[in-house]
């Protein structure tokens, strides 16, 4: 692991609802360096909320509190909204699950990627050139043609590569990817992962990879954090996930169907109330 750039210590996120206070993230601590860190968990475990809280993109009814949440010297928990604008998208990028919802449907692909360069005083020609170069970096073969397409004219895999291109243009140091490949076919998923993998290696990017897919995270990431009910219940090296100790992690692994080892029945996860506190 390289030197950490992101420090999260004792992060809590609470949502105020008309009925009650929902404590969605309960004391999460981790660091991220120039590496691939996976956050795995089931629906409602708080994994996406962690990703959003780092960028302060949580809904207005949420309160985010942390003993320390710092990225390259910027206090993310205490920074003003103006200061956050300098971080969001510029130093920390975010890739969402479904490019169809995350891209503007009435704007050409190239133009919306170029928006990331707004305010830099670049000429239209230079800007176009940079966008085209970035499209090429995410292995789009014919960037000239793709530049002028609308989002509905591209496939899911290409849409996701376009999102990655858009997020990379400001040259961030950390990327948060929330289920970036869950909507993609397995072979397309491989291509998108290969691009992310190369970026981490060649550009020294840090990556937070949020996913529900244990196998994928184990094979792709360097480190894995397993979340259950708003807490990190286990942290391990990705290649050691199979030897995980926490009963929740073990239960999840056992409930996965496997191609090479068929069983009559799958193990069903028996949830233990004690996991809520540890």
């Amino acid at each position: 692991m390289s030197d950490p750039q992101l420090f999260v210590d004792d992060l809590h996120v609470r949502f105020r609802t008309p009925q009650r206070m929902v404590h969605a993230v309960r004391g999460v601590s981790f660091t991220v360096g120039r590496e691939k860190v996976g956050i795995v968990g089931e629906s409602g475990s708080g994994k996406s909320t962690v990703g959003r809280a780092i960028l302060r993109l949580t809904a207005p009814n949420a309160t985010v509190a942390a003993r320390r949440m710092e990225f390259q010297g910027v206090d993310l928990a205490g920074a003003s909204e103006t200061a956050m604008l300098k971080v969001r998208g510029r130093r920390i990028g975010m890739i969402m699950q479904d490019p169809r919802y995350a891209l503007d449907p009435v704007m050409r692909v190239g133009e919306q990627i170029g928006e990331a360069l707004d305010g830099r005083g670049l000429s239209a020609a230079v800007r176009r050139e940079q966008v085209l170069a970035m499209l090429e970096a995410v292995r789009i073969r014919n960037p000239q043609r793709v530049y002028d397409l609308y989002p509905h004219e591209v496939s899911g895999g290409m849409g996701q590569r376009i999102m990655i291109a858009m997020m990379l243009l400001p040259e961030p140091d950390l990327m948060i990817a929330d289920e970036p490949t869950s909507a993609l076919d397995v072979t397309v998923r491989m291509q998108v992962l290969a691009i992310l993998d190369e970026l981490v290696t060649s550009r020294g990017l840090g990556l937070i990879f949020i996913s529900h897919d244990l196998n994928l995270v184990a094979s792709f990431c360097d480190r894995v954090l397993i979340m259950y009910s708003g807490r990190i219940v286990e942290e391990c090296r990705a290649e050691e996930l199979a030897a995980a100790r926490h009963p929740y992690t073990r239960g999840l692994l056992a409930s996965l169907p496997r191609i090479e080892a068929r069983r009559e029945r799958l193990a069903v996860l028996q949830r233990d109330p004690a996991w809520l506190d540890g």
Binding site: E42, S43, R139, I140, R141, N142, V146, L149, E153, V154, S155, G156, M158, D185, V186, T187, V188, R189, M190, Q191, L193, A194, D197, H212, L214, N215, L216, A218, S219, F220, G251, L252, S255, L256, P257, R258, I259, E260, A261, R262, R263, E264, R265, L266, A267, V268, L269
Partner: protein, 260 residues
Amino acid sequence: MIEVADLRVSFGRGASLVHAVDGVSFGVREGETFGLVGESGCGKSTVLRALCGLNPEWSGGISFGGVALARPPDRGFFRRVQMVFQDPFGSLHPRHTVNTTLGEPLAIHGIGDRDRRIVEVLEQVGLGPAFRYRYPHQLSGGQRQRLAIARALILEPRVLLLDEPTSALDVSVQAEILNLLTDMRRARGLTCILVSHDLAVVAHMCDRLAVMMQGRIVEELDVAALAAGRTVTDYATGLLAASRGYDRQLAARFVVEDGA
């Protein structure tokens, strides 16, 4: 039990004509579970929709138990063949209680003894009588899928068609639903066709499977061959490899296709 011969389904006309299913043939024996796998747009769900009469525009031959599928299928057909859909949020009427949802197929087919049947099927899918007067929004994703399975089973069909029945569920819930399907299949001697993009789910549930690509079956094999990695075609081999997780060397082999 199920015979499909040279099935073709196309959409659109003229220049925009798309052959979604382009000559697919396979057979499923009584009591067997057959898997159809492939990536988005390969036509696997379209095959299933044609089989259950949801897509009347097809050509070729489909027969169940030696009886050719009529167009439109007669009422008796739906007593023998039922379907479970992918999305338990979209496939249940939001303003019908569990009781109404389960009672409707019985009413349509004029089957009496509804109370007993509803209570019984709820018990079998592990929901219990407490769920009888709830609405879908009061159920979790896994419970809704149990309800969808109960609705399919209440007519006591011989054939169950499953279209990605667990892809909207968490893995721990997926395990519960797959176990339920295994139990129901054994208890009732069901013949099933399972459509999925997830090779692990197909390997777990099926006896044999067909890999589809661009409207055609490119390879048919049994699950033992799949587990041992004995795929023949490049496409099926690649699909199997990609399903095993990320691998840097392997990823380099997948060519980026800008098909947009």
